[in-house]
């Protein structure tokens, strides 16, 4: 009996494992960032609209803010664009753009086409600062608390559910500011 059942049980078990594997495939592609819980690296980068002017990630110290990595070449950034707009409008915190590996003209054209909903944009044409942030794909969204600690990172486009999650997290972070 066991001799007959054992291959069957093994087979069913294997199929089960494969099904779990398929369902969690997308999830497993996401790489947890070791930077969550650590201070955001101090990056000084030119602004998109005024290239002569630089801004630093340290400028925002003392307030909760969002850093959103995007590029005009990035298809998913187009998809999340309306949600970034809502995040900027409804969250009450600055949503800063991180224009990654883009061409200035393309980025400006993209913004005039879809709308510039960000507070301002930091530009990283070569992608060296993005490496310091552990960026590996666009879009990516970082939540930074008032002490300059990265508290959350979302990889991939923002949708309705993610927007709700981000808003709740921002609210909690803002409560910490007063406390």
């Amino acid at each position: 009996m066991i001799r007959l059942l054992l291959p069957l049980v093994t087979f069913v078990g294997l199929i089960g494992l494969l099904i779990i594997g398929m369902q969690t495939a997308d999830e497993r592609k996401l790489v947890d960032s070791p930077l969550v819980g650590r201070p955001i690296p101090n990056l000084v980068l030119p602004q998109l609209h005024q290239p002569a002017k630089t801004t630093s990630t340290a400028d925002r110290l003392g307030e909760v803010w969002v850093l959103n990595v995007w590029g005009s070449w990035c298809q998913s950034c187009r998809i999340e664009h309306p949600y970034v707009g809502r995040l900027a409008k409804e969250s009450g915190v600055p949503v800063v753009g991180f224009n990654w590996k883009d061409e200035r003209d393309d980025a400006l054209r993209w913004l005039s086409q879809f709308g510039d909903v960000w507070a301002y944009h930091m530009v990283d044409y070569e992608g060296r600062s993005a490496i310091d942030l552990g960026v590996y794909g666009a879009p990516e969204t970082f939540l930074i608390d008032h002490r300059g600690i990265i508290r959350h990172k979302h990889i991939g486009p923002i949708d309705e559910t993610i927007l709700g999650d981000l808003m709740a997290r921002i609210q909690r972070l803002q409560q910490e500011v007063g406390a």
């Binding site: 592609k29 790489v31 947890d32 960032s33 070791p34 930077l35 590996k101 070569e126 992608g127 060296r128 993005a130 490496i131 310091d132 942030l133 552990g134 590996y136 794909g137």
Partner: protein, 135 residues
């Protein structure tokens, strides 16, 4: 004779495929062979986080190119292999290493094959004993 020919063809094919793999890497001005060897070894053992089943050496992804450039600069700056690995891990986590360090959360990864081998050995011993008892 035919065997020798086949072997030569096979070796040639192997050589060619090896070359096509290496072509993802853009030519870089190494100062010495040692630097080049170190660069290649590190590029082989660091995972490209975009195309996760490829190493930095295999991948054509723009991020892999950036990371190779960073790797090259760090080697030129005289950083050690361990410093370079740490640099990558600090930014992308243990996942970026094809050979992650032995820790509590990687125990199954490293111990898994040994565990499976032990299960197999145990199974064989049981089966052999049963059969022997039947004789």
């Amino acid at each position: 004779m035919r065997k020798a020919l086949l072997l030569t063809a096979w070796l040639l094919a192997l050589g060619l495929s090896d070359q096509s793999l290496a072509s993802a890497i853009e030519p870089l001005p190494f100062r010495s062979d040692v630097e080049e060897i170190r660069f290649k070894a590190l590029a082989e053992e660091i995972r490209c986080t975009v195309c996760q089943n490829q190493s930095l050496a295999d991948s054509d992804a723009p991020l892999a190119q950036d990371l190779r450039q960073e790797l090259f600069v760090m080697i030129q700056d005289g950083r050690t292999d361990q410093e370079i690995r740490n640099f990558m891990v600090e930014r992308y986590g243990d996942f970026v290493l094809y050979r992650p360090p032995l820790a509590s959360h990687t125990l199954l990864l490293w111990g898994g094959p040994i565990l499976l081998l032990l299960i197999g050995l145990l199974g064989s011993v049981i089966i052999i004993r049963q059969r022997r008892a039947l004789l």
